[in-house]
């Protein structure tokens, strides 16, 4: 979205207020000594402050900003919101500060260009953290004024539980025992190439084939791990819900790393087995959205 004129607020900073007092003192001195040069100098500096005010306001005016509004995070970590500042204007936008709550990132965007920025918002607890808006602010050029605007775009961080717990996957444990499980996590065997189809992880692409001018192909792997795994809330007999969620999260990440299809079953939600970034995200969000005790 693009920042419009009506949404930009501007006030002097404390240095701006100090400067204003100084300018008043300068004008009084110029008048008192009846000095036209002193007055000229005072007026010049006052006009400079006014021009600086306009430039500060302009620095935000018409700036475009896009954001990944929904992100995944883990408790006691950071929710990383990615911003894209795009500047269609013929001037450089200097020192644009993006503020999400207390987390900030500062970027300058060259004329007719764009710039990426990430703000790492610290998140403490599992759950869904929602910021109703974020702020763009700037003190450029001289720090005498601060212009800011609120972008009313809800930022949502799905804060998954911290992956914790050392229990073995129930299905794997049942199938092959704990020693077998550790083998499962090892490298899988390369089984040959197959035709590309949409949705295949990029890291499985056979780039060399493509580079030789062949049809897009995908390396396929074979391994005992390719059977779906149900990550089941009820398989854990721990009393503490958060500990269960942490364990589920651990399993989830492990399964994803091992590229084994997995499904999630927690009270109120069931996600059928699959894998890949979208699936992982859906599962993590389900874990994050599980109502915490405080809300029950």
């Amino acid at each position: 979205m693009t920042i419009s004129r009506r949404r930009i607020y501007i006030i002097p900073t404390r240095f701006g207020i100090a400067l204003a007092l100084l300018l008043i003192a300068m004008l009084i001195a110029g008048l008192n000594y009846n000095s036209n040069l002193g007055l000229a100098f005072g007026f010049f500096m006052s006009s400079l402050a006014l021009v600086a005010m306009h430039h500060c306001h302009r620095n935000l005016l018409g700036l475009g900003v896009d954001v990944t509004a929904e992100v995944d995070a883990f408790a006691a970590g950071y929710a990383r919101f990615d911003f894209l500042l795009h500047n269609d204007a013929g001037i450089e936008r200097c020192d644009i500060e993006i503020r999400c709550d207390r987390a900030t990132a500062t970027r300058s965007v060259a004329a007719r260009s764009y710039e990426q920025a990430s703000v790492n918002l610290p998140v403490e607890n599992r759950g869904v953290t929602r910021l109703e808006r974020f702020e763009l602010r700037t003190r450029y050029p001289f720090g005498w004024f601060r212009a800011w605007t609120y972008v009313q775009c809800p930022l949502i961080a799905f804060v998954a539980p911290q992956p914790r717990g050392d229990l073995a996957l129930p299905a794997a444990a049942a199938a092959a025992g704990t020693t077998a499980y550790s083998e499962l996590r090892g490298d899988e065997d390369f089984a040959g190439l197959r035709a590309y189809e949409a949705g295949v992880p990029l890291k499985h692409m056979a780039w060399k084939v493509l580079a030789r001018g062949g049809e897009p192909a995908v390396r396929s792997y074979s391994g005992p791990a390719a059977q779906p795994e149900w990550l089941d809330w009820s398989s854990l007999d721990r009393v503490d819900a958060e500990a269960r969620l942490s364990q589920l999260c651990r399993w989830l990440l492990d399964s994803e790393a091992a590229q084994r299809p997995y499904g999630l079953r927690i009270p109120g939600t069931e996600i059928t087995p699959s894998r890949g970034a979208a699936h992982r995200s859906a599962c993590l969000r389900a874990l994050a959205s599980y109502p915490s005790k405080a809300h029950q």
């Binding site: 021009v51 005016l61 013929g90 720090g143």
Partner: protein, 676 residues
């Protein structure tokens, strides 16, 4: 990162160096009025800080800083006995700036130093009114502002020329607003409140004592004392005597002015033509104003005439001052000389200059008439071997005896002194008048420049029935007896100029032109006041200008200025494409959009053209135009000349292209001009 941490961010050494340089440049402008030790302290402190910073060290510990600050400020108070007033205030501010530099680490300190620099520049401008200084300080402020920009903006940090350009552009945009402010901000006549006057400014020009030889020193100086612009008439050269301090008390060597208090000036009967003129005085820290003999009206605030017709004002002339006055060259006394004044102006120190007294006695016996006696003395100067020189020998205590009988060489002061002494010895009331005589005419702007080298001394004698009569004994010295100095060419009445200036008339002309500009600066800028503002409003055809209308005009100007600024600042947000081909293409798209064919953001030129051709077969020319545009944009580079020609054809084609609007159910023939 909160506001606090931004302000407390460390400033790199390079920026510290620059802000120090800015402070040094500002102090340099006011160095003349700054006590030497203050400048030295600030310089030393800055050097210490820079050395520490260059080694990567921090500011010195708090206790050391405190001791230095306490010492310096204590010393300053001992010197000035006050912190009020311009000199003391400026010195204090300079010291504070230096001390602040000592602990400058963070951005906040940079802000503080910057503000001190701004205020010091202003303080310097309050004391001086030179155009060059003003320009210099604006330049320094430019540099300071760009340094501030680099210290506060993380992206502009290392970009010296870029930030200079940007700060320069901001200053340029500030200029029109500043001019509007300056022109229309209401001025008040006097100061809002009186400030104690600076104690350490040196006086210049004539003083209230004159020993023979004093004026010789002045004759070496090229400094301007004042400038004069005459009204309708200019008095002839022999009447252009500018009256300064009048001396009455003679101790046998030097003449002295004692303040007689505020005694009413004896009435004069004015005769002859009246001369109106404006004297633009340079500051000299004396409280007398130079006027033409004999003043009748003047506009000096609280100025009054003393009993010996000096124009005095209570405050010394510490800033350039304009006096508008009227004088008459011929007067006669309307009342007899008072007893007290007669006694004062015939007194001689007993036992001094015995040979002169004897000479006076002899001459007086031969010429019992006062006027005859005056002429006899003048005749003596003319006929005997008296010489006029810029390098007179030093005289002993009895200076009149020494001059009249031994050296016989002197400058105007010697002649005036000796003449007055001889008059008094004969019982004729006489006094020495110092001032300026002659001057250089600036033909480029029609005014006279009176330099210190035009300083002169003459006498006034009281002749019964006529009143005070001006006698200039120097003028009777025969021209061939003017001695040449080693390097200087001396001619009575002519300004002292060095040889190379006389040899190169174009250089003299250039100097005069520069001086004319200086007067213009002074009259138009420095002396801009309430009445100038009224004239300005009159020029703008505003009837009955007054303060209220001035404020109204100021408000209008500011509104216009701010609107202009807003437009100016936002205009840069969407720059016109600089490339004519792009401009023409945009024009083409605009024209098609006007007839309802809007190019979609995802459409390339040729896709768009195909759609246009499909919807409006009559506009098939768009296809060829768009084809050409694609070629110009994306085709592999043809020779430059061919490309330019193709571009020109394209631009011309777009210009000629006027799509007609289609009425429903009717297709216009191709090329028809749309008027629907």
């Amino acid at each position: 990162m909160s506001a606090l941490t931004v302000a407390e961010e460390r400033v790199p050494f390079e920026r510290l160096l620059w802000i120090t340089a800015c402070l040094a440049l500002t102090l340099l402008a006011g160095i003349a009025t700054l006590p030497i030790w203050v400048a030295a302290t600030v310089g030393g402190v800055a050097a210490i800080r820079l050395v520490l910073a260059a080694r990567g060290g921090d500011a010195p510990p708090r206790t050391i800083r405190f001791i230095i600050a306490a010492l310096a400020i204590g010393l300053l108070f001992l010197q000035f006995r006050t912190f009020n007033g311009l000199s003391a205030g400026t010195a204090l501010l300079s010291l504070i700036a230096g001390l602040k530099l000592l602990e400058t680490r963070t951005r906040r300190d940079i802000y503080v130093v910057t503000m001190i620099i701004y205020f010091l520049s202003l303080a310097t401008l309050l004391e001086s009114e030179s155009f060059w200084l003003f320009s210099y300080l604006i330049g320094v402020c430019w540099l300071t502002t760009s340094t501030l920009l680099r210290s506060t903006s993380s992206s502009r940090g290392g970009d010296l020329s870029g930030s200079l350009r940007y700060a320069g552009r901001l200053l340029a945009q500030a200029l029109p607003l500043a001019v509007a402010f300056w022109l229309f901000f209401p001025r008040f006549g006097g100061p809002l409140w009186q400030m104690p006057d600076n104690g350490n400014s040196a006086t210049s020009g004539l003083s209230d004592t004159m020993s023979p030889g004093d004026i010789t020193d002045l004759a070496m100086s090229d400094e301007v004392a004042f400038r004069v612009r005459f009204g309708a008439d200019t008095p002839p050269p022999q009447e252009r005597y500018w009256r300064g301090p009048v001396m009455h008390d003679f101790d046998g060597h030097a003449w002295r002015r004692t303040d007689a208090g505020r005694v009413r000036a004896p009435t004069l009967l004015f005769r002859g033509p009246a001369y109106e003129y404006t004297v633009s005085l340079e500051p000299n820290q004396h409280n007398w104003l130079f006027v033409l003999d004999w003043p009748s009206h003047w506009n000096a605030v609280r100025g009054y005439l003393t009993s010996d017709y000096m124009l005095i004002q209570p405050d010394p002339v510490s800033r350039p001052l304009d006096v508008v006055a009227t004088s008459y060259s011929h007067v006669s006394a309307a009342e007899p000389l008072g007893i007290g004044m007669r006694r004062r102006d015939t007194r001689l120190p007993p036992g001094r200059n015995p040979r002169s007294l004897q000479l006076a006695q002899e001459l007086r016996n031969a010429h019992p008439d006062d006027l005859d006696y005056v002429h006899a003395v003048l005749d003596m100067f003319h006929s005997q071997a008296f010489f006029y020189t810029l390098k007179p020998p030093r005289l002993a205590q009895d200076s009149v005896d020494g001059f009249l009988f031994d050296s016989k060489r002197g400058f105007c002061g010697h002649y005036a002194s000796a003449f007055a002494a001889l008059m008094r010895a004969a019982g004729i009331p006489a006094r020495v008048v110092t001032g300026y005589q002659g001057g250089t005419f600036n033909r480029f702007a029609n005014y006279w420049i009176l330099r210190q080298s035009d300083a002169h001394a003459w006498d006034e004698v009281w002749i019964q029935g006529q009143g005070w009569l001006r006698i200039d004994p120097t003028s009777v010295i025969a021209p061939e007896r003017v001695e040449r100095g080693l390097n200087d060419l001396v001619a009575a009445g002519a300004p002292l100029t060095s040889r190379w200036q006389q040899r190169t008339p174009w250089l003299t002309d250039t100097r005069l032109r520069l001086d004319a500009l200086r007067l213009l600066w002074r009259e138009r800028i420095l002396r801009f006041d309430e009445s100038s503002q009224e004239r300005l409003l009159g020029f703008l055809h505003i009837p009955e200008p007054d303060g209220q209308k001035l404020t109204l005009v100021l408000t209008l100007c500011l509104v216009a200025g701010m609107s202009w600024l807003t437009w100016q600042v936002r205009r840069e947000l969407k720059p016109r494409p600089s490339d004519p081909v792009n401009r023409a293409y945009e024009q083409l798209c605009r024209r098609l959009a006007a007839v309802g064919l809007r190019r979609m953001p995802y459409e390339g030129a040729e896709t768009f053209a195909a759609r246009v051709a499909a919807e409006r077969p009559d506009l098939a020319i768009v296809r060829s135009l768009c084809r050409r545009y694609s070629e110009l944009r994306y085709a592999a580079g043809p020779p430059a000349a061919a490309a330019a020609a193709a571009a020109a054809t394209f631009v011309a084609g777009v210009r000629a292209f006027r799509p007609g609007r289609v009425r429903p159910g009717r297709v216009r023939p191709r090329g028809s001009r749309g008027s629907a």
